[in-house]
């Protein structure tokens, strides 16, 4: 810390660099997907010395992340704050009526997209999506997911809308818990992210039916004796026209300078080059699409609209009080 005090004029020669510790806000609890990713990024940055200042991770999970977003909204112009986002960037303001919108932040970069897979128990009679849909029409099936009026329940509503099969959505606190509830047979199906359920798939307890993406997953390594990630059909192939991907993106507060955004864009690009990051991407079968700048903004605008439509149709919008 001594040099920082002694030589304030010595830095900032080549582009902008952080001058104090960077706060990295996670609008979710410890242990979840966003938390894991943020801490991996923090670990990579410190291990490879990608930034002179330390990165301090802060969880602000209150109100499905509303707390973290409001904090970032209030920190206008602060270049030493980053936010990692998940789908609650769109869903939380819509579901709770908290005054916040993604436009209150500066988009930096999309790190990856998280996939969703429809899982059932391996010893269940359902081998295809059509089996599940037929069974659900026959007797209401219980579909477990993380949180309420968030991504998992939005997918559940979209399945019902597309296929006409009703599901009882049972919310739990975390993805790992949901997967185990399915293994234990307390619910009938889940839409877990790959990373949350992969170990149960490999141990032979769960069966993936389809992936909610318009193309198959990339991994061709055998995960079980017979299947790799790429062997899972897309839901569209199976006759269920639903696709949903979850944003894992990095944002800054509004009102920051372009050179500051550029610094973090470069930093995250370096992070994505490291072996640790590639390992994480492979483990979690993430969709490796990355976007920055205007393309990212366009994507965000489109997704925001899509969430509004999906959530309105499902009746998830907050009642004006």
């Amino acid at each position: 810390m001594a040099p920082a005090i002694l030589a304030p004029g010595a830095r900032a020669q080549r582009g902008w660099e952080p001058m104090r510790p960077v706060q990295f806000i996670i609008p979710a609890g410890t242990g979840g997907g966003a938390d894991q990713m943020a801490r991996v990024i923090q670990g990579i940055v410190s291990k490879h010395g990608l930034m002179k200042q330390p990165m301090v991770v802060v969880n602000k999970a209150g109100g499905a992340g509303a707390e973290g977003f409001l904090e970032a909204k209030g920190a206008r112009g602060n270049p030493h704050m980053l936010v990692i986002t998940l789908s609650n960037l769109f869903a939380t303001p819509l579901a709770t009526g908290v005054p916040f919108n993604w436009k209150d932040l500066t988009p930096v970069t999309m790190m990856a997209l998280d996939e969703f897979v429809l899982w059932v128990k391996a010893d269940s009679p359902w081998k295809t999506v059509a089996d599940v849909i037929a069974a659900a029409k026959d007797q209401r099936l219980k579909l477990g997911g993380t949180g309420s009026k968030q991504e998992d329940q939005i997918i559940a509503a979209a399945i019902t809308k597309s296929s006409g099969a009703p599901f009882t959505y049972v919310p739990f606190r975390g993805g790992g818990e949901v997967a185990v509830q399915l293994v234990g047979g307390h619910i009938d199906a889940t839409v877990n992210n790959p990373i949350e359920a992969v170990t149960h798939w490999r141990s032979g307890a769960l069966r993936p039916l389809c992936v909610f993406d318009d193309k198959r997953l990339a991994g061709t390594e055998k995960m079980t004796d017979t299947q790799s990630w790429s062997d899972i059909p897309t839901c569209k192939e199976q006759g269920l026209d639903v696709d949903y991907l979850m944003l894992r993106g990095i944002f800054m507060p509004a009102g920051v300078k372009p050179e500051q955004v550029a610094f973090y864009e470069g930093l995250m690009a370096k992070v994505r080059e490291t072996p640790e990051w590639k390992e994480l991407i492979q483990q979690g079968a993430f969709n490796t699409t990355t976007l920055t700048g205007d393309a990212f903004r366009a994507w965000l605008t489109k997704e925001d609209e899509r969430h509004k439509t999906l959530m309105q149709e499902a009746g998830f919008l907050a009642q004006p009080s």
Binding site: G29, T30, G31, D35, Q36, R39, V40, Q42, G43, S46, K47, V57, V58, N59, K60, A61, G62, G63, A64, A66, E67, L70, A95, T96, G97, V98, R140, K142, G147, S148, K149, T168, Y169, V170, P171, F172, R173, G174, G176, E177, A179, V180, Q181, V183, G184, G185, H186, I187, I195, E196, V198, T199, H200, R202, S203, A205, E276, L280, Q283, F316
Partner: protein
């Protein structure tokens, strides 16, 4: 016994000099983290996790699990000395630990707490070593109705505990439940009782409330009688450890029962906090001298500490075998495993033998290292009470403010802590019991959640709580525990009624 061979290999890994050094550093760091309220457990490990990314996975997990042990041990220190629980599961330890410290028996209470923590954790580790695969499957049987049944049992074992006015106990408990409900309703995503304030969205964190209700209010209460803390004159040296140890074998049965409760609650996975409350409640109900609890009874320290640590340790089992964390700390460790390229879950025991057994061996060694470190430090910890009041009061206030802030990085929580401090002061002086409030606050929302998840699953039928022998059995045990004092009371009424009839 394949396990023994694998365990020995594990010991060989853990006993390498550099791993031993990491173990020692981990324990010391952990104690420090546990002592600072708010920083403890999950936060502490999350903070230190990135430091370990550069190490080999086995060394990293050895260091982190030693931090975990250290934090488990450290949580008891502030509970006993200042009535400030550093961790949720040390709350029950304050009930008798703090009165003991006030009576000048701080060294005794600390020794009892550390020793029983060790025993609890040790039982759990032995269990993990030998019956892991069998027991892991058991956790799968716990769906929402079973989870609710366990919560119900925790409440049932605690009800009837409070002294004084039943109306005031009820009011305190209702207040606890209401505070727990503030914020987002996890089942519907609806905001409840936030009254439009963005500070209320977060809800009332248990630790913020407890730091105020217990810690701050205690300072206010104790200064009424002059500017000093009680219990300063305790004679403290290492002999107190040996003296207390001589007493401990008397409580072997209590420790065994508490360890079983703890292990069971850790696997289910209800976690360490309900385990500590349940164990304390059961110890009191089964005691020959229930009225002595809450006034500095050593059993009141042994029971919750043993159970909390047995639960905290066995909570690592569902994390390793199922990928479900039994505690927030385990959740952070889980993230670490993934970062090191290890996929927790059923395949871990098959594919990563060296890692798993290295970890289990480090549990044994870390636990022993932890016990030695904290026991040697007992006189120093207890000597803190001799620091002049003005200094210690200001330091406690500072540490409380830091603790309240770090729970969720909110300045408003420091204000809340102060409000809770005044509320706690008033409630204590009016004989409103704080234990039911705290119990309701810490378990309230999980209980409601499990209840409503169950009804979602059953489509509204209450019968689901008795749908199989497991949840039905736990519910029945809970009802029996609730009915126990009622039966005694009824018998008394009938007996006196008959007596009167005979006299007439």
């Amino acid at each position: 016994m394949e396990e023994i061979g694998l365990l020995m290999q594990g010991f060989a890994v853990a006993l390498q000099p550099d791993n031993m050094l990491l173990m020692l550093i981990g324990v010391v760091l952990g104690v420090l983290i546990g002592v600072l309220p708010g920083l403890g457990g999950a936060n502490g490990i999350a903070i230190l996790l990135p430091l370990t990314f550069a190490m080999p996975p086995v060394s990293a997990v050895i260091m982190l699990s030693c931090i975990y042990w250290g934090a488990l041990f450290g949580g008891a220190i502030t509970s006993i000395l200042f009535n400030i629980p550093g961790e949720p599961w040390s709350v029950a330890t304050t009930f008798d630990g703090y009165p003991m410290a006030q009576q000048g028996r701080a060294g005794e209470a600390l020794t009892a707490a550390f020793t029983s923590s060790f025993v609890g954790a040790f039982v759990a580790v032995v269990m993990i070593t030998f019956v892991a695969p069998v027991i892991a499957g058991f956790a799968l049987r716990f769906g929402p109705p079973e989870f609710f049944a366990v919560m119900f049992l925790s409440f049932a074992s605690f009800v009837g505990m409070a002294k004084g006015s039943p109306l005031k106990s009820l009011a305190a408990m209702m207040l606890g439940f209401l505070l727990a409900a503030v914020g987002m309703d996890t089942v519907t995503g609806q905001l409840r009782m936030t009254f439009g304030s963005s500070e209320m969205i977060r809800g009332f964190d248990f630790l913020v409330a407890v730091i105020g209700l217990f810690g701050i209010s205690e300072i206010l209460c104790s200064i009424e009688d002059g500017l000093s803390f009680k219990g300063q004159k305790a004679k403290i040296d290492l002999k107190v450890v040996l003296r207390t140890w001589k007493e401990m074998p008397k409580h072997a049965l209590l420790a065994a029962r508490s360890a079983i409760i703890g292990v069971w609650m850790g696997i289910t996975p209800a976690g360490a906090t309900p385990a500590s409350f349940m164990s304390y409640g059961v110890a009191r109900k089964m005691s020959k001298d229930p009225a002595g609890f809450g006034h500095g009874k050593i059993e009141g320290v042994i029971a919750p500490e043993t159970a909390a640590h047995a639960a905290g340790t066995s909570a690592l089992l569902p994390m390793l075998t199922l990928g479900v964390p039994g505690s927030p700390t385990a959740a952070v460790l889980l993230g670490g495993l993934i970062m090191w390229g290890l996929q927790p879950g059923p395949m871990l025991f098959v594919e990563q033998k060296e890692f798993v057994w290295g970890l289990i061996a480090s549990m044994y060694l870390g636990n022993i290292a932890g016990l030695l470190v904290v026991l040697v430090a007992v006189p120093w910890f207890a000597a803190i009470l001799r620091v002049p009041f003005p200094i210690i009061a200001a330091l406690i206030l500072t540490v409380c403010a830091i603790g309240a802030y770090t729970v969720s990085n909110a300045e408003f929580d420091i204000v809340l802590m102060l409000i809770f401090g005044v509320v706690g002061y008033v409630m204590k002086k009016l004989d409103y019991p704080l234990a039911p409030l705290v119990l309701a606050l810490v378990l309230g929302d999980r209980t409601e959640e499990a209840f409503r998840q169950s009804l979602l699953v059953s489509e509204g039928s209450m019968g689901i709580f008795f749908h199989n022998w497991l949840s039905g059995g736990i519910m029945a045990a809970g009802i029996a525990l609730l009915a126990w004092p009622l039966l005694g009371w009824l018998r008394g009424v009938i007996a006196s009624g008959m007596g009167r009839a005979r006299a007439a």
